[in-house]
Amino acid sequence: MTRILLANIDKPEQASIVKYRERGGYKALEKALAMDQAAVIEEVKASGLRGRGGAGFPTGMKWSFVPRNTGKPTYLLCNADESEPGTFKDRILMERDPHMMIEGMAIASYALNCHLAYIYIRGEYEFVANMVQKALDEAYEAKMLGPSVMGKDFALDIFVHLGQGAYICGEETSLIESLEGDRGYPRIKPPFPATHGFLASPTVVNNVETLCALPWIIQNGAAAYAAIGTEKSKGTKLFSVSGHVSKPGVYEVDLGYPLVDFINNEAGGVPNGRKLKAVIPGGSSVPVMTAAECPGVLLDYESLLKAGSMLGSGGMIVLDETTSMPETLSVIADFYAHESCGQCTPCREGTGWAAKILKNIVAGKGKRSDVDLLLKIADMMEGKTICPLADADVMPIRSFVTKFRSEFEALCGDN
């Protein structure tokens, strides 16, 4: 399997610019700076790289939506808000190999003709932010950033911004609002950030992992990247796996790798001789899969979608046979109720209501009719809100309740 993102993750002092450069770092930036800006975008397009923040939107295409010569600056925002339960892949990249992200940002900025970029890091990652800041300081020192990047006629400043503890600020328009100093409320789209983003200017928001793939793509060429993975899911992807596996952690796999093999070979399988019960493959917001649904499914965008779930952010949660599905769903529902920004009615009221019903059920105080009520609430929320957070609650609710209905009903007894 190809290692692109984690190639140097375990090497000593990889976080320092000296070691990073010794191991070939910032060569890709140098190469990009010698190319046409448009050619860099074309290269990224050709690589087939898709956004790793959850939505999987083709990165090169996103960049090509950014209008040129608007008279306004263009901004690049690195989304390091990583808050989806089960997701902890960006953290390791920033902690262990921060210059890869900085180099990726510099390449993206050059391609987009952006001179000011921000890294929006979740508030709970303050220690990570400090490490990233240290790397930025080194990069400035080494003239990888600043008024003349690598001695070229290209200026770039990158700032770190620490969030204040809201999951919703990972949603790109909410992130922009937060960065502007307002409440982290997702915006109505259109207009899209590409034209009206940060400070009403053209803006690109990209996930840490997306940006980290750029140096390799530029260095090795789009064709090399596109050769990895499947027809529509190119390259490699990080999966942060947690739950009932022997070796939880962050793994890099070629897209298209079989799910069952991943759990058994990479993550060490379900421990203690227990049986697999279910998998949430892409972070808490994607539909849960039963063990029976897993065989044959590949870890790529299309295969997971076909199996009724999603790749999401790659935050995989593995659940063994001892797991109470109502309890698990209750924890997830609590999270979304707590994190709903409260802006739009169906999400604000629906996430809270569903969480309360689930708490009741788990406490043995539920009614049988509550099970259907949960599904009704899911219908009432789905597709009716400003941002996808409500749907992120709907997907686990609907999949847990329909696939494990008897467990919910058992808790309700004869009520």
Partner: protein, 536 residues
């Protein structure tokens, strides 16, 4: 012009219009909470979801621009189900304290529930999110957080209209609550507007709450008498008492807003006693009640006597910039008939100094609703030079008699007492004075004749605002005692003087005015209704 299909009917939209706006233009209301025509769009309540062909999801009508050829459905089962769902969501944490809520009867939750909801509540009371109630937010507003549907209209009003930003949401999820920072009072001069725009009973009027259930009120269309902006209002009244003023939306004047002073200005009318009968000073120097006929005859003959002795230039017509165009028109016509040449209406030369009370939103420094009407009707002359000039002329003996109309301003200002003092000084200096006014005051003893007249809201008539916009104000309240509208007093005087006096209503007077005064020529009473008509 984009054409689109709305519930099977092909309709036109203006370029750049959203579905909700275009639908409204065609008389179709799409249910909504957060959308307000005079606020920036927010799209948060999701009540306005409609189905648009080729869009997989329902889309908010308030945020979606009309495209040519769009096919929109707002009344099918899918849409109704979605709206019903949103409504159910809004009610799960609602306290359902409608019986003690002042909004009852004009609450959008109640209204839409009757159309879309009618579901049974599935959430037990103990599971509801509790928030704070009866929070005092200053002189105009009382807040109940539990009734709030979190539409952010109030926030947007303070953010974009007054640009003062007092209100905000606190917390998140279903614990979001509306409020001001540390419950600070809303003390900007437009705060009352948020009570109107709040679609539910979360923000209620400190002044109006619990005074009257709204379904007992009668509404009369009018124009605010508080200043020269002439905001378009509705007077809500019952049994001869005004309970509140509400804005009528007029995009040309006040959009959907009123200033707080104007909103509360009607209280001035019940301040102090009314004069109920015409009073004429006898030989003993004491004012005694007479009939209108007696008063009219005596005024007309006395004014003619003075004219014949001292010349027509010794008669002053001092108008009020708070009287209607119709009143001022007949006032002028009567005095013109006597040959009078000296007219003015300017009471407070101080006005300009009070310009700090003017702002870019609505409030005009001139606290009279019809100064422009007075000017257009030729009631301002450099020769007289305002009330100061008139006092001096009277003192010097050049002016002997005066017909004075005076109304206390409905919006108070420092300097009002001084202005009133100048009216007294004028009456004192004149040999013979006729005062038309509505409320009793000590200083009126100086007048030779006091005539009780209808105050603002008690007669129909038009006002001309600072930009020359003529707007019709209806009659909401019956006058007290034998008082008459000003126009009627002069119609009577014209009759007494032997002139033609065919008017039976303010409308008749308006028609004559439109016929004979060039600035008003050609306008019809219909044009003076929303949004009013600007004259040259």
């Amino acid at each position: 012009m984009p054409k689109f299909t709305l519930n099977g009917q092909e309709v036109e939209a203006k370029p750049g219009q959203t579905i909700i706006q275009a639908a409204a233009d065609h008389g179709m209301e799409i249910p909504h909470y957060c959308y307000h025509p005079d606020l920036p769009i927010d799209g948060n309540c999701r009540m306005c979801l409609v189905e648009v062909e080729k869009m997989p999801k329902l889309t908010p009508a308030c945020t979606t621009l009309v495209n040519d050829g769009m096919v929109v459905r707002s009344e099918n089962e899918r849409v109704k189900e979605a709206v019903r769902g949103v409504l159910e969501f809004l009610l799960i944490n609602h306290p359902v304290d409608c019986p003690v809520c002042d909004q009852a009867g004009e609450c959008r939750l109640q209204d839409y529930y009757m159309v879309y909801g009618l579901h049974t509540s599935e959430i037990p009371l103990g599971m509801k999110v509790r928030k704070r109630k009866v929070i005092d937010l200053g002189p105009m507003v009382v807040l109940d957080q539990e009734r709030c549907v979190l539409c952010s209209r109030c926030i947007r009003f303070f953010e974009y209209v007054t640009e003062t930003g007092e209100m905000q949401f606190f917390g998140r999820g279903d614990h979001v609550a509306i409020g001001t920072f540390e419950d600070r009072p809303l003390d900007n001069p437009y705060s009352g507007n948020v009570v109107d725009i709040c679609p539910v009973g979360a923000l209620t009027s400190r002044d109006f709450r619990f005074k009257c259930r709204v379904w007992f009120l009668h509404a009369t269309d009018s124009v605010c008498g508080g200043c020269s902006t002439g905001c378009t209002v509705r007077i809500d009244h019952r049994d001869g008492t005004i309970f509140r003023l509400l804005p009528r939306r007029n995009v040309e004047v006040n959009r959907s807003w009123l200033c707080d002073e104007g909103r509360l200005s009607f209280h001035k009318l019940s301040d102090g006693e009314r004069i109920t009968r015409p009073l004429v000073k006898g030989r003993d120097g004491v004012q005694a009640p007479v009939t209108w006929e007696e008063a009219a005859r005596s005024i007309d003959s006395r004014l003619k006597e003075i004219r014949d002795t001292n010349g027509a230039a010794s008669i002053l017509g001092f108008a009020s910039p708070s009287a209607t165009n119709e009143a001022l028109f007949l006032f002028k016509r009567y005095l013109d008939g006597l040959g009078a040449t000296q007219f003015d209406f300017r009471l407070d030369s101080e006005d300009k100094k009070l310009a700090d009370e003017e702002d870019q939103i609505l409030r005009h420094f001139d606290k009279h609703p019809n100064s422009m009407g007075a000017i257009k009707l030729g009631l301002m002359s450099e020769q007289v030079g305002g009330i100061e000039g008139a006092i001096n002329a009277a003192r010097a003996g050049r002016l002997k008699a005066g017909v004075v109309i005076y109304f206390k301003p409905l919006v108070e200002r420092p300097g009002d007492a001084e202005a009133e003092g100048r009216v007294l000084a004028l009456l004192d200096e004149l040999e013979y004075s006729v005062l038309l006014t509505s409320h009793k005051a000590d200083w009126q003893d100086s007048a030779s004749v006091v005539l009780p007249v209808a105050a603002w809201s008690e007669e129909e008539g038009t006002y001309t605002n600072f930009e020359g916009r003529v707007q019709l104000a209806g009659k909401a309240i019956e006058v007290e005692g034998n008082a008459l509208p000003v126009w009627e007093v002069f119609a009577m005087l014209l009759h007494a003087s032997g002139a033609e006096s065919p008017w039976m209503s303010a409308e008749d007077v308006f028609a004559t005015m439109a016929d004979s005064v060039s600035v008003f020529s050609g306008i019809t009473l219909d044009q003076t209704r929303l949004p009013g008509v600007v004259v040259g």
